[in-house]
């Protein structure tokens, strides 16, 4: 089993479009505990991805992932650019080694998560995108091969976003607010969830 180029392309398109559609929400979350640019940053990055959709999707999966990563790195303009960029670059690198999709999904995703953590010098619990990415990785590991994996990922991501609300930020701009960062959703956690939900929805539609 392998991922068909057409499937990949439609999932990537859906994910990009969902993030772009969520830009106002992401920006308003970032206004509360940051500098209010996460939506415009992600929109800029994923519009650039959409602009290269055909070229990206035409490549082997490993190269496609790296191209997404590089595009985000070069266009996002905020901390989230190198963070998401490193996720995709590392996932592409894993696929360049001995990993394959969908079989090694948890490993490939895990490479991406590790790269975010290394780039951000951060880990789960600091009120960042990692607070969605890490629990989703756990779900992928635990649920590999299970028929309800997509639904589980969906729920994990949604719940993980909510669990950032009571957290106090210790990384990124929200950390400047100290205790006042408590009580708000982390913007990057939310954008991770948007991306994951778009992929889940795309996969469900194909089942």
């Amino acid at each position: 089993m392998s991922v068909q180029p057409e499937t990949f392309k439609s999932l990537l398109k859906a994910a990009a479009e969902q993030v772009i559609a969520s830009a106002p929400e992401l920006t308003s979350l970032d206004q509360a505990i940051g500098d209010g640019d996460h939506g415009t940053n992600m929109k800029r990055g994923f519009e650039a991805v959409l602009g290269k959709l055909d070229a990206i999707s035409a490549q082997p999966l490993n190269e496609a992932f790296k191209a997404i990563g590089k595009t985000l790195v070069m266009t996002v303009g905020g901390a989230s650019g190198p963070l998401y960029g490193s996720f995709f670059l590392a996932a592409g690198e894993a696929l360049s080694q001995d990993k394959h999709l969908p079989d090694d999904l948890a490993d490939v995703f895990g490479s991406g998560v590790d790269a975010v953590s290394a780039r951000g010098r951060s880990q789960a619990g600091e009120k960042t995108m990692l607070d969605v990415l890490v629990p989703v990785l756990e779900t992928l590991k635990a649920g590999a091969g299970q028929p309800d994996l997509i639904a589980r990922v969906r729920i994990t991501a949604a719940e993980a976003v909510e669990r950032t609300v009571p957290m106090q930020a210790t990384k990124g701009r929200a950390s400047f607010l100290g205790a006042r960062s408590v009580g708000h959703v982390d913007p990057g956690a939310r954008s991770s969830c948007v991306l994951l939900h778009a992929v889940c929805a795309g996969l469900e539609a194909r089942q």
Binding site: D35, D37, T40, N41, R44, V73, M74, T75, V76, G77, G78, A79, G81, P82, L83, G85, S86, R119, G120, G172, R173
Partner: protein
């Protein structure tokens, strides 16, 4: 000229980056190569990896380049930019953990004296609490 460490200034704001470069040049004249960038790829507040890569290459010196940044995203994007340089250059660039304006002036003044990249970095980082 190429026997002094180069200085790159990366701010979220192009105004800050430009003003800092002005202050640096006032202290060191043309003894040190100085390049700066600021703003996201659309020109708003933020930083841009391709602009950072260009600035590092503009300030290139065989003694290396010290990059001064302001907040989080500027640091993350600068570290990313360093990794995207051609391999031979990567190890000769440091992103300093130092305040951008004060660090750039101090780093450039140190660089003008012919100091090594490690010395330039140390002088800038002395200003910082962590």
């Amino acid at each position: 000229m190429t026997d002094t460490v180069g200085i790159v200034i990366v701010s979220h704001s192009r105004d800050i980056a430009k003003g800092t470069a002005d202050m640096v040049r006032q202290m060191v004249g043309s003894e040190v190569k100085v390049a700066f960038c600021g703003g996201n790829p659309d020109g708003g507040l933020g930083t841009s990896v391709p602009l950072i890569i260009d600035a590092i290459n503009d300030a290139w010196s065989s003694k290396g380049v010290a990059v001064l940044v302001d907040l989080g995203g500027a640091e993350t994007n600068s570290e990313m930019a360093v990794e995207m340089l051609e391999p031979a250059r990567r190890d000769l660039v440091v992103v300093c953990n130092a305040p951008i304006v004060e660090g750039a002036v101090m780093a450039a003044t140190e660089a003008a004296g012919g100091s090594s990249l490690a010395q330039v970095r140390a002088v800038a980082e002395e200003l910082s609490a962590d």
